[in-house]
Symmetry: C3
Subunit: 378 residues, 3 copies
């Protein structure tokens, strides 16, 4: 029932940093970590007015990373285990197999601060997506992300960072398959091209804080990052680019993101704007009555959120999201208001987060959702 | 071909206890283990009278457990790898993905000997089910378990243990989804409520022996555990509650288990009784001729088994199982007689077990089955 | 972005050898390794004349091996993670689950140099197949292997090695299910019987070099291995024995392999000949016009390849493969010419390989393929 103590090998790491090993001859290192989220979520059924809820292992992961040959050659392998993560829709393009691999990527520092990434990993899209699902301020990401994010893809990324005085600049360019992770057949349509520029006018965030939510490290001076991404997914066949369902025709998608993160003394704010267009029109098929039956998901979205972390490591945060789909798609616009209460026991490694949302969907009744989630991550 | 020795890092563990690590600052620990079973099974085809047999990796697992933050907060993640373990029937409720996650659970000792379990793990049902498949006395569990066990589920468990003189008492209560592991959609019907009481009148078993089969630690004084579980699965939609196939209508299931374990000087005995009822009737659909085409599996079952472990670590064991289904289900009652011969090389970590069974099914010819299985578990 | 150094536990291993641990009481050991391949492949579409290409994680694996109880009892578990590796075709015989388990096998040295293997692993078929996909000279294996290899299977193998002067002799016999890995239902048809004899007239290769491609260890004296395998797969139901699709009728397949490996001072050559027959005829079903609609894949194939490893660890290699199917199958014969250029940064553990192939298929236009792949293996 409990935990029985006995002699164990000491690992020079600490909770939240995984198990860490380095070869005696410094020829490679390996960090191993695992994590899971246990989620309760409930919402009111619009029609029956009944409360519908569920419990589930929302995410569970295995992570392996480190360097090989030289500290300038870093690898990362991350595996999904939960059914939510690995379902592939039984599609032929996935070899009718589960999508277990999230990341499998090598990162080579070709020259100081110039990195070539080779493999499958997240594209340099909106900040909220690139932040790990372990390190969010709310129970899960926003509707902006659900509709427009670039997700993971197989390809190459070139990443550069440099500093001008206090100002940090990062430039990222990538080319990738365009249909998302774990595609095993020929590339339908063309490739996806992404570029991103980040500016940190007030210098680096403490501990890489521009890429985790909540000001857990309580920045002593204000820190800001503003960034823009541009993505051109040439002839993709999935309704949301790297995500969504395969449609019967291809379209090129053009997506712009503008996002920013600000942190200061326990206060944190993140905002994102997304704009996706299909220059040849998003709709691929219509019914006899003219209603779209197959459409790419295009339009604009805005997400803004802010939170304050009390000295007790309780945090209160609020979020506002609005999604406006392109009129041709006839998808229903949504607004969402979310209030979160979180208790960080050990940062993002051991925490309990809850949030409640009011979701306003065009032409529908307002919906209310409540969620509470535990995160445990070595 | 063989094993080549070379300098290796020493791990303060031993075979059967996995690799064990503790962080230098005692902020977390991790035990890693893996195991597999290789099974030969053969049986006589009733119709052709031919011997039909097969070889397979019956089970293969990865296990991660330890504590985080404090020894009072324990986690466990267990993953299934073999096709027998992970097949999900390609159902939508499993996101059409494999059911890789067996356990993902956190166990918090809120007060001395009072534990809150949060996540997905085995429910406090019949003892035979809760005993690991690694630690059985026979090649696999009985027909009682196959028909009536509660299996794993996502939820909360409250567990308490206390002692009155020599007598150990354990009380367990749980609330869970009711449809078994790795459900990713809304909760069909209601929740499942389980309560269990265990009494150990002669004190603790050596090394937790009330939850592994065979008296491997040769109790010097007699040890006994008797227990009863009560389960109410409100409006479940699967034919055997957490298991079985989804039916077209829901039923509430009420299950009672009474079980016990006894061990003394190499002798061990385990017995279980199960009784499952569907107060609103088990049958959901019938054919034109009135034969049930969809039914919940209800009825009673008895399993009794005993074995003696010789000084040589050879064990002989016998088992008798009878299953009587509710008449309305028109399922065929079964009796099974099993004789097992096992050689424990290193306890339940390295062993070869064989058993042969006579299976008597109502209205059918008697069937004979022979199995032999190797278990290897770090 | 980069790799941040911090105190880490030292592991007495080196890059390419995985993490290695041994229990303080020498009761077990564990080596853990992981690897992935990132592949670009392109070929010219015969009809449209367009270049079609793709990027993918071709293979990703987790590997666990070591000894338990005694160094004479070795285990190995290897798991596939990439969609290419684990797709099972959603078949009932695989329990409609992914085929994650590649190897799960115990290897017991019963007497000096006499090994009993128990579990699921590669059969002792053609050398190219038994060589790990990590340790190839080309981006992937040849057409001979694609059509006629024995692959993995569940069963028993008896392996013996002895030496007569300088000459090393190995005899291997196996019995296995015959339908390949991760079958969970009864054995369709009969078992598969394989025998293999290997002769190394010039003694052992350095570092087991008869079972990896390329002369990475630059043999100082010539080394040669010649071998022959004989396989009889009794009443298999899959078109290529352990592989292929399930057909509506069974056939017994008889396969002969003759193969050899030669290495000397950076030069390496490998050749294989395969001959598969179905004594009762390969064709199982024909269309109205007499064209086979279901057939076992029988015929002969030859693969010959050679490469030279320069002092700089660049290698140039060439390969010629020809496949002649049995006339009754009406499958189209193929010839393939491949030229490879590889850069081994750290042997087979960190390398980039490229190859280009001319593929001549009977009655079709010639096809051209280009591939480049990175391998990273702890």
């Amino acid at each position: 029932w409990g935990y029985s103590t006995q002699a164990q090998s000491v690992n020079y790491s600490k909770f939240g940093k995984g198990l860490q090993f380095i070869a005696a001859d410094s020829s490679f290192s390996l960090k191993f970590s695992t994590r899971f989220q246990f989620l309760y979520s409930g919402s009111q059924n619009e029609v029956t007015q009944e409360w519908e809820d569920r419990l589930q292992i929302r995410r569970a992961r295995l992570k392996f990373d480190g360097f090989v040959y030289s500290p300038r050659l870093v690898y990362k392998i991350e595996l999904g285990l939960s059914n939510s993560d690995i379902g592939s829709g039984l599609l032929r393009v996935h070899n009718q197999a589960d999508n277990i691999i999230l990341d499998a990527v090598a990162k080579w520092e070709m020259a100081p601060k110039l990195f070539l990434w080779v493999g499958q990993t997240k594209l340099p899209g909106n900040r909220e997506r690139v932040i790990s699902s372990q390190q969010l301020q709310f129970v899960d990401r926003s509707l902006l992300n659900a509709n427009f994010n670039l997700d993971r893809d197989a390809g190459l990324q070139l990443r550069h960072e440099h500093q001008a005085g206090q100002v940090v600049l990062r430039e990222i360019a990538s080319i990738s398959m365009g249909e998302g992770r774990n595609i095993t057949v020929d590339n339908a349509g063309g490739y996806d091209y992404t570029a991103r520029l980040e500016v940190l006018p007030l210098g680096h965030f403490t501990g890489g804080g521009d890429y985790f939510n909540s000001d857990l490290l309580r920045e002593k001076t204000p820190k800001l990052s503003v960034a823009a991404s541009f993505d051109y997914n040439h002839n993709t066949s999935k309704s949301r680019g790297q995500l969504g369902s395969f449609l019967s025709d291809n379209r090129s998608l053009r997506t712009i993101f503008i996002d920013g993160m600000f942190k200061y003394q326990g206060f944190s704010a993140m905002a994102e704007y997304a704009d996706r267009k299909a220059p040849d029109g998003p709709v691929v098929a219509v019914s006899d009555t003219g209603t779209p039956t197959e459409t790419f998901v295009t339009g604009t979205a805005l997400n803004a959120q802010a939170g304050y972390l009390f000295k007790t490591n309780w945090e209160v945060a609020g979020r506002y999201t609005t999604v406006d789909f392109a009129e041709a798609t006839q998808l229903l616009n949504q607004k969402q208001y979310t209030l979160a209460l979180s208790r960080y026991v050990v940062g993002h490694s051991l925490k309990v987060q809850s949030d409640m949302s009011l979701i306003q969907t065009e032409q529908e009744h307002d919906a209310f959702q409540f969620r509470i989630q535990m995160e445990l991550s070595l």
